[in-house]
């Protein structure tokens, strides 16, 4: 009650759409990466490095990373508002989740594009 201002986009409908869009991106990325591993059973460092130096792979990975952060935030927010009734604990939980998403995003971009 009255906590909707802390959700992802201040609107349940756009949260719903973002959750579906990010889900489809993540499903496609999962199939893509699992397919890569299955078709490269004796994967070497050189192949792996070359795979991730491909711009298309980097862009798709970045899109999946952004989708992960958005998707996880909406999911964790939903869970926290469903199960954590004490406002203080819920606030701390959501803050920790938010910081983790931020770290995932910044760290992930650094990994994908190198320094």
């Amino acid at each position: 009650m009255g906590v909707s201002a802390t959700n992802f986009s201040r609107s349940g409908v756009s949260d719903w759409i973002i959750q579906r869009f990010s889900a489809v991106v993540l499903a496609l990325y999962t199939v893509f990466i699992v397919g890569y591993f299955v078709s490269h059973s004796g994967l070497t460092y050189a192949e792996w490095k070359e795979f991730f130096s491909c711009t298309a792979v980097r862009v798709f990975t970045l899109l999946a990373l952004i989708s992960t952060v958005a998707h996880a935030w909406i999911g964790m927010w939903t869970i926290s508002t469903d199960y954590l009734k004490a406002a203080g604990i819920r606030f701390v939980f959501q803050t920790v989740c938010f910081l983790a998403m931020f770290v995932y995003l910044a760290w992930g971009i650094e990994i994908i594009w190198g320094v």
Binding site: A23, A27, W48, K49, T68, A72, G75, Y104, I111
Partner: protein, 125 residues
Amino acid sequence: MNQKRPVNLDLSTIKFPLPALTSITHRVAGVILFVGVAFLLVALSASLESEQGFSEIKSAMTSGFGSFITWGLLSALGYHFVAGIKHLVMDMGIGETKEGGQVLAVLTILFGGATVVLAGVWVWA
């Protein structure tokens, strides 16, 4: 909000229908994946850093205790994937009845369970 509304918070007195159980499992798998992303980023970072990092991560993920973490994360991903597809199917208006929900919950368990088994085969076979 009516503060005197009837509530029943003793979960042990509630019999959960199958769709409720598949839904809570979807949430649990989602939380596992949220934490698991940290492990995946460590693995991605080390595997791309050097030849040595790559082989270290490869053996860490495929042997001993690490192989259970790999299997656990793949299982959570597989189940969450299947349960998510179920959501998208229901968004299209398929299986929105009580019976339909039951059928889709059974299918989620069957296909989700299959991904858990396949993940185990992939990691250890």
